[in-house]
């Protein structure tokens, strides 16, 4: 084959955020020859944007905390839909992963006695998030990056994978292109870890960057792996709403963790009215009690209702806006200025202060922020084995956001940074154990994939950016935070038309760093994840966690712990239901009664 570099590895890790870096470090520690593929430059992955912290039951701030409480919080926050074994492994191993980061140079904020400090967050019973101000993700990625570059890993920057090869039922390699040159690279390996993150770019209002086009979900799907829970998309309650150019940018839950309150246009703290039955008794019932908790008296008082789980808060905000009690630009108010002094706010939330000052001309130490829900995270993903993170395709692993099951129907804030450490390590470990035995990839398959990828250059077709923007509009309108049958059917019909448009887009210019071409390729992934989300959302006839159907507003007991499974069958996207194994009695007891 001409026009292609061919390289052989034991393990190829696709994606270089926290999960990918942690997987690569672990595989390398197992003496595997490892390639780490970054869609952007190293250290720019979405993990840098994580703000609030990493959840781990270290018990440094509140000694009562332990893995059992963390596990219970995770299952209840996930509306009992989680893969319980993943949630258990996560709660048990997170503290070791955080301590390990410290051994690698992480500089977490400290308690007065010199240990890692922990902050309160939505859905967590105790103060549990190890953090660095409001830039925890940046700290984590820099530490992992430095550990990684001293681990002998081959890093391929600005390289996008377009296809996985499966030969005789086993993973055999991946085809990618370098943005700089537009040249292809074939990475041969018998073990591949997907760590590509999420799918947020399928919506208009999102906290996610351009990279989040669901590449890993689509690569796995095309390789024959199963996807689960794609209907469960997290709309983060607090994104910026004004000015228009910043709509969707994340405002950390840390604002509420540090005492920020939500108010409607009448000045009412409306969250007191939205207490779900499951959490009655766990949260403050008056402003007085809530304020006392914020001031530090946490033994006698309960948490503010603003710290309910994200699904609950996002839906409450949506309802307030819909009923006419929103802010001038279509959000509600998030106010920390009246609860904390300016020095405290600048110290604990420096990048929020900076972000609002620079982008919205709002001083958050003086005025309330205008916020509203923004597409943030997908709970669904590649179906994996809880212990090994291996998918239903032998040799193909998935870790972090691209993996499914851990978070159930709704993810707790802070559980993502710990998830990617815990399961990144496990994926790297088991991928390294699976090394060797990569089947040969037929040249014809590689050549056909390259031809497909280059096809847009041969066409005089539509601008790919126009198609991408149409897709985002369809999903925003019909598969957003509140869904119904009619809307989802419209979405599927529209997506079908968009498939046609995507396959006829045309590109001008050369192969060198050509964003039009990159978008034409990303579109193919977006179409897969958008369709998977819409199909799964149509199939689940109930409301649960991140999935809300206005035509089925309640949770349906019979659909508890039932996955919607998506799999490619020929050219068709097949949808089926699959019951999760029942929770063992001791696990059920733990969840119901606590530790």
């Amino acid at each position: 084959m001409s026009d292609i570099r061919s390289l052989s590895y034991d393990v190829v890790v696709i994606g270089a955020g926290g999960a990918g870096l942690r997987a690569a470090i672990e595989a390398s520690a197992q003496k595997a020859k490892v390639a780490l593929v970054c869609k952007s430059l190293l250290g720019k992955a979405h993990t840098v944007m994580a703000e609030g912290g990493a959840a781990a039951a270290l018990g440094n701030v509140m000694g009562e905390d332990n893995w059992r409480v963390h596990f219970r919080d995770t299952m209840r926050g996930g509306k009992m839909h989680n893969n319980w074994r993943m949630a258990q492994i996560h709660a048990q191993e997170a503290p070791d992963r955080i301590h390990e980061l410290e051994a690698w140079g992480a500089l977490f904020d400290r308690t007065p006695d010199g240990r890692i400090n922990q902050r309160p967050f939505g859905g967590h019973t105790y103060s549990r998030l190890a953090h660095v101000g409001d830039r925890t993700g940046l700290e984590m990625i820099r530490v992992l990056q430095d550990k990684g570059v001293h681990s002998g890993i081959d890093v391929h920057m600005e390289c996008t994978i377009v296809r996985l090869f499966v030969v005789g039922g086993r993973v055999a390699g991946a085809l990618g292109y370098f943005r700089e040159t537009g040249r292809f690279v074939l990475l041969r390996a018998g073990a591949i870890v997907l760590a590509t993150g999420g799918i947020g770019k399928a919506w208009q209002v999102t906290s996610n960057s351009w990279e989040y086009t669901g590449d890993g979900h689509a690569l796995a799907y095309d390789a024959g792996a199963e996807l689960i829970d794609m209907e469960f998309v997290q709309f983060h309650p607090t994104g910026m709403v004004w000015p228009p150019s910043v709509r969707g940018i994340l405002v950390t839950e840390g604002v509420r963790g540090e005492g920020g309150v939500l108010k409607n246009s009448a000045g009412e703290r409306f969250m007191f009215r939205y207490m779900p039955d499951m959490f009655k008794g766990d949260f403050a019932e008056t402003e007085l009690e809530s304020d006392a908790w914020v001031k530090g008296d946490r033994k006698k008082n309960r948490r503010p209702p603003e710290l309910l789980t994200r699904d609950v808060v996002a839906k409450a905000i949506t309802k307030e806006i819909a009923e006419g009690r929103g802010s001038p630009h279509g959000g509600v108010f998030l106010d920390i200025a009246s609860k904390q002094n300016p020095e405290f706010i600048k110290k604990k939330l420096p990048s929020m202060y900076h972000q609002f000052k620079e982008l919205a001309h709002v001083d958050i130490t003086k005025d309330a922020m205008e916020i509203g829900p923004t597409t943030h995270y997908v709970m669904g993903g590649v179906k994996v084995d809880a212990e090994t993170q291996e998918s239903t395709v032998p040799g193909l692993f998935a870790a972090g956001e691209v993996g499914g099951g851990m978070h159930g129907a709704n993810r707790l804030g802070g559980n993502s940074l710990s998830d990617l450490l815990v399961f990144g390590r496990r994926a790297g470990l088991h991928a390294a154990a699976k090394r060797g035995g990569a089947p040969a990839i037929p040249d014809a398959e590689v050549e056909a994939s390259m031809r497909d990828a280059l096809a847009p250059f041969e066409r005089d077709g539509e601008n790919p950016f126009a198609v991408q923007s149409a897709l985002q509009a369809v999903m925003q309108r019909n598969a957003g935070i509140i869904r119904d049958k009619a809307g989802l059917e419209v979405a599927l019909a529209e997506l079908d038309k968009l498939k046609g448009r995507a396959s006829s887009v045309g590109i001008t210019g050369s192969r060198e760093y050509n964003p039009g071409w990159h978008t034409a390729i990303d579109l193919l992934s977006l179409l897969v994840v958008a369709e998977a989300t819409a199909r799964a959302a149509l199939e689940r006839t109930e409301s649960r966690g991140g999935h809300t159907r206005s035509d089925y507003p309640d949770s349906d007991e019979r659909q508890t712990r039932e996955h919607i499974v998506i799999k490619k069958e020929g050219d068709r996207m097949a949808v089926r239901r699959e019951a999760q194994p029942p929770l063992p009695a001791d696990v059920m007891k733990l969840i119901q009664e606590g530790a």
């Binding site: 051994a103 940046l138 990048s351 590109i507």
Partner: protein, 247 residues
């Protein structure tokens, strides 16, 4: 509320290029990166620009706006008079790949050679350490670095004199400072900073500090203390004698 704004963008490669003018409808709160994206989506789909977070957190969209090194995502269009044409060019201290995208791989090579973090033995039997907030705050300032490389771009040693082979530049000195001032670190990087890092090339003009979007006091808090360390280590006769005696 939208008005027409004019932008001049560099279009081209390492070999050749030109400034090309575009018009774009600018809405309220629009930043330069939004304008570049609008041009890309509607007029020039092959216009190369690097970006990720659009919130000043990833440091990808560095460029020169009217000749000043800035993040495009944190520069509002309204900061410039409505009748002014805004000129956006790639960072000058690095080779152009295409349009606004430069080859910054040199920084990654330099970083790889900085001696790795090496912690002291754990303080507690469970293998953990004790550090206090006042101790971690000093290196935490340097960890705010988002690796936008704007400080490298403005530094005259790199920008005007092209000393990339001899001088690691302010961004990488900040990187080394994280570990040099890390309460747990026991490695010594002063020889690396002096020889390979060429710290002596910095003559403290503080241009780097001025362009830092994270407001890191690069010169005062990172480079000057590192220079002092290197000087103590190499030129203090008492320290020199002590090292000779103690090996």
């Amino acid at each position: 509320m939208s008005e027409t704004r004019r932008l001049r963008l560099f279009r081209g490669t390492r070999e050749r290029g030109e400034l090309k003018e575009y018009q774009v409808a600018a809405g309220e709160g629009m930043v330069v990166l939004d304008a570049v994206h609008a041009i890309q989506a509607e007029q020039a789909p092959d216009l190369a620009v690097r970006w990720n977070c659009k919130a000043g957190k990833c440091g990808s969209c560095s460029a020169e706006i009217n000749g000043k090194p800035r993040l495009m995502c944190m520069t509002r269009m309204s900061d410039y008079p409505a009748d002014e044409t805004i000129t956006v060019t790639p960072m000058k201290a690095f080779p152009v790949i295409k349009d606004l995208v430069t080859d910054v791989s040199w920084n990654y090579e330099v970083n790889k050679r900085i001696p790795a973090f090496k912690p002291r033995k754990p303080d507690a039997p469970d293998g953990t350490w004790r550090m206090y907030q006042f101790e971690v705050e000093r290196p935490q300032e340097f960890r705010k670095c988002i690796e936008c490389f704007l400080c490298q771009d403005v530094c005259h040693v790199l920008r005007a004199h092209d000393k990339h082979q001899e001088f690691m530049g302010p961004a990488m000195l900040v990187r080394a400072a994280v570990y040099e001032m890390h309460p747990l670190d026991v490695a010594d990087r002063s020889e690396h900073l002096r020889q390979e890092g060429g710290i002596g090339y910095c003559n403290i003009t503080k241009c780097c500090t001025e362009v830092c979007p994270e407001s890191i006091m690069i010169t005062d808090n990172a480079i000057i203390p590192l220079k002092e360390r290197v000087a103590d280590r190499n030129y203090d006769p008492l320290q020199w004698l002590w090292r000779k005696l103690t090996g």
